[in-house]
């Protein structure tokens, strides 16, 4: 709108001069000789002179000596007609002697008719703030540069228009190149390890398009070294919004990487060891648990014998829990612990644990008490094995360290917070405050002497704490010397309906009769156990004592299911299964079940899913075996019809 107005139209001369006077930009009229004709309020303030004082001065008078020459040269060129106007950064000297950095723009006003120079219009802007910002930025840059150099972080600058790359000294050091090297995108890509190159190129393209560049790769230096490099970058857009440059960082993470790989390898070794130990220990335990379980199922025992068998079975389970103790501790150390909640009958479980110690308590005339403070729901969602493990430890400690009086297990359930509380209270010697602090640390019993007297690894409480926490709960202790101790376990536990698994075994019996099962296991006891479980219900059991024998038997004898132990010498379960599955024997399509310990990581979906239809955990529980077999048979379409290949006949 304004540029359409003829000069002065709508605005009076007075309004113009008022506007000029009060403009926030320093403005002045300067004669051709350089003297100040008029200066506005802003400029007068900037220079620190009054109008009257200025009118007797020239611009050179208030210009920094070092800037006078260049200013005058520019004036000459404007007067000569070379330039219409000029702009420069210069310094003015104020009246008080201080220096003011400024941006000066000068235009020459000529006579309209003949173009005769009349006077200059000067516009002056105070650059103090700008320079200060500039100086601050420079200082910041220096600090950043120092920081990156100290941290050995290289900075690179990639010009996207021509793929030229600028490296700072650290970059050259990282890549092992002299600073004189000319670096382009191609040069950089040449350094990247061939396995990583495609990925990095892709990531760079994505970054140019706007994605975050945050990656790592290996480089091959000219001196042969391979380094792991971490890189971050960001795209800098130019004024028009196009990508102009990408600036980024590189830093060497080779050491960290190496440490990580070593740690992983060490961890792997540990896991392997744990898995091996687990297998060695669980194998005989399988026999104990399996056979006592079968005994417990028998109906021809008198009640007393039944009870005794129950105790043995419970003790067997307790023993298993202790074995798991040691392994769990190692796992907790390695951070590999899993919690598997399922519908659990907490009250009978707690009672069962208490009853495990009847004999031991009897030798010391200790009373064992069981109390339920509130209504305990029949089933809650908890990991029963972990719960048992913790309780065995707490009750066991109570019985171990209490010589007279009682050990009480008290249950309570708070429906509002859905938390189960189990207290194990004893009338033992109590634990001092200082000793309490030590108690929950690993490998410490209160004093070494009691270890020799009472025995124990000292791992128990630390594991209990770790497990309780892993289950989302806690263990706390209230104790006073001479007054006994109360260990309180609190766990989140939601009420749940009774599990229906009990009935499954009955149905399985009828469906499985007449079935033929081949069990391949290098452990004779395991094979016997399988036979002892399956033959009574009319299943024909064939055996093979290792993978090779398993393949041979499977090649000659058709069966309905193959039970394959995973860990066998010479030829292991997986290889034997593969040989049978991919061979052309009569059992190539037969469902196979894998036997393995729970923490045996070998059987994973990715590497054995095509071979096995399921897994049965060791130590072997009859119900698991039967339901596993039922499931395996269910995956078979026994009633499958052959399509009518003879249609029309």
């Amino acid at each position: 709108m304004l540029n359409q107005l003829p000069a002065g139209a709508g605005f009076t001369e007075n309004q113009f001069s008022v506007a000029m006077e009060h403009s926030p930009i320093g403005t002045a009229f300067v004669s051709l000789e350089g003297s100040w004709l008029w200066a506005n309020a802003e400029l007068r303030q900037l220079l620190g002179y009054s109008q009257a004082e200025l009118s007797g001065m020239t611009f050179q008078d208030v210009t920094h000596p070092d800037d006078v020459a260049s200013d005058e040269r520019l004036v000459e060129r404007v007067v000569a007609g070379e330039l219409r106007s000029y702009s420069m950064e210069k310094r003015y000297i104020r009246k008080d002697g201080s220096v003011v950095p400024a941006q000066l723009t000068v235009a020459l006003v000529r006579d309209d008719a003949r173009g005769t120079p009349l006077y200059f219009i000067s516009q002056v802007q105070d650059n103090t703030a700008k320079l200060a910002a500039g100086a601050e930025r420079a200082q910041l840059m220096e600090r950043v540069s120092l920081a990156t150099r100290t941290a050995q972080v290289g900075i690179w600058d990639w010009d996207l228009s021509n793929n030229a790359i600028t490296w700072d000294t650290v970059m050259f050091e990282l890549y092992g190149e002299p600073p004189s090297t000319n670096v382009t995108l191609a040069t950089f890509e040449g350094f990247v390890h061939s396995d990583d190159r495609d990925r990095v190129v892709e990531e760079l393209s994505a970054a140019v398009a706007g994605a975050l560049f945050d990656t790592h790769f290996r480089i091959n230096r000219r001196d042969g070294q391979v380094r792991y490099i971490r890189a971050l970058a960001t795209v800098m857009r130019n004024g028009t919004g196009d990508q102009g440059r990408m600036i980024g960082t590189n830093w060497d993470v080779s050491d960290a990487r190496r440490l990580q790989e070593e740690a992983l390898a060490a961890s792997k070794v540990k896991s392997e060891f744990l898995a091996n130990m687990s297998h060695e220990i669980r194998t005989p335990l399988t026999a104990v648990l399996g056979y006592t379980s079968l005994l417990a199922d028998r109906h021809d025992l008198d009640p007393k014998a039944q009870e005794q068998v129950e105790r043995v079975a419970a003790a067997g389970r307790g023993l298993l829990a202790i074995v798991n103790d040691v392994l769990d501790f190692s796992k907790l150390e390695a951070g590999l612990t899993t919690i598997t909640p399922s519908p659990t009958a907490a009250r009978p479980l707690a009672r069962e644990v208490l009853e495990m110690f009847v004999f031991q308590a009897g030798t010391k005339a200790l009373t064992l008490r069981f109390e339920a403070a509130t209504e305990i729901p029949e089933f809650v969602t908890l990991d029963p094995d972990r719960l048992r493990q913790i309780l065995v430890n707490l009750v066991g400690n109570g019985v171990k360290f209490t010589d007279r009086g009682s050990v009480t297990v008290r249950l309570a359930y708070d429906p509002a917070s859905e938390r189960l509380g189990i207290e194990v209270a004893d009338t033992g010697p109590g634990i001092s405050a200082r000793a309490q602090a030590k108690l929950f640390q690993r490998f410490s019993q209160i004093d070494g002497s009691s270890t020799r007297v009472k025995g124990g690894t000292g791992l128990g409480l630390a594991i209990c704490m770790g497990l309780a926490e892993a289950m989302g709960g806690s263990i706390t202790l209230r104790s006073r010397v001479g007054r006994g101790s109360i260990f309180r376990l609190e766990l989140p536990a939601t009420i749940v309906a009774a599990p229906t698994m009990r009935n499954a075994s009955l149905d399985a019996h009828t469906q499985l009769e007449g079935l033929r099962v081949l069990v391949v296991d290098d452990n004779a006891t395991n094979r016997e156990l399988v036979r002892a479980i399956l033959e009574p219900i009319g299943i024909e059991v064939s055996e093979a004592c290792d993978g090779q024998a398993g393949i041979e038997v499977a090649a000659n004898l058709p069966v309905d299911v193959i039970l394959m132990d995973m860990r066998m010498p010479v030829l292991d379960g997986r290889d034997a299964a593969a040989a049978i599955r991919h061979g052309d024997g009569p059992n190539r399509d037969v469902p196979m079940l894998a036997f393995s310990a729970q923490d045996d990581g070998r059987l994973s979906r990715t590497n054995s899913g095509d071979l096995f239809v399921g897994r049965i955990c060791k130590p072997l529980v009859p119900a698991d075996l039967l339901s596993g077999l039922s499931q395996a048979m269910g995956t078979d379409d026994v009633s499958g019809e052959i399509a009518v290949a003879y249609a029309g006949h």
Binding site: L515, N556, L557, D589, G640, I642, A645, Y646
Partner: protein, 145 residues
């Protein structure tokens, strides 16, 4: 031949009349469409004309025994018609030999009804390969030479 229940057509081959009758009755009651043959030669002949979906074959027969029948059937036919062999003893040598000749499964005499039904049902478990009718007919015809 009626096309109904072609998918559950079974041929039972046994020289023992009693066994033949027992097995046929049992399987018929279970819903299969059962045909019988009294000896090996008759068995081969009826295989060709009936084209059953499964075969129950006694191993111990005079003249042409079960092994002979399997041999004459050949690999292609035994693959196409799953065969359950009946063996008198628990001798695994017989079973092994029968398996090598292409039998799918076995049953030891005397056997329980439930086991018979289980074994026959499992015969149908594996779908036969679908070769052309032509080829199957051709291979069956060659057997009778």
């Amino acid at each position: 031949m009626p096309a109904i229940d072609a998918g559950r057509r079974i041929l039972v081959v046994d020289d023992d009349k009693a066994v033949l009758e027992l097995v046929s009755t049992r399987l018929t009651l279970a819903g299969y469409n059962v045909f019988g043959a009294r000896n090996g030669h008759e068995g081969l002949s009826r295989l060709s004309s009936l084209r059953p979906s499964a075969l129950v074959l006694d191993l111990n027969m005079p003249s042409l025994d079960g092994f002979g029948v399997l041999q004459r059937m050949g690999i292609e036919t035994t693959a196409r018609i799953p065969t359950l062999v009946l063996t008198a003893s628990r001798g695994s040598a017989d079973v092994q030999r029968a398996i090598k000749l292409g039998a799918r499964d076995y049953l030891t005499k005397p056997f329980k009804d439930s086991n018979l039904l289980l074994r026959v049902a499992r015969l149908f478990r594996r779908p036969a390969d679908r070769q052309s009718l032509e080829q199957t007919l051709n291979s069956l015809d060659h057997m009778l030479d």
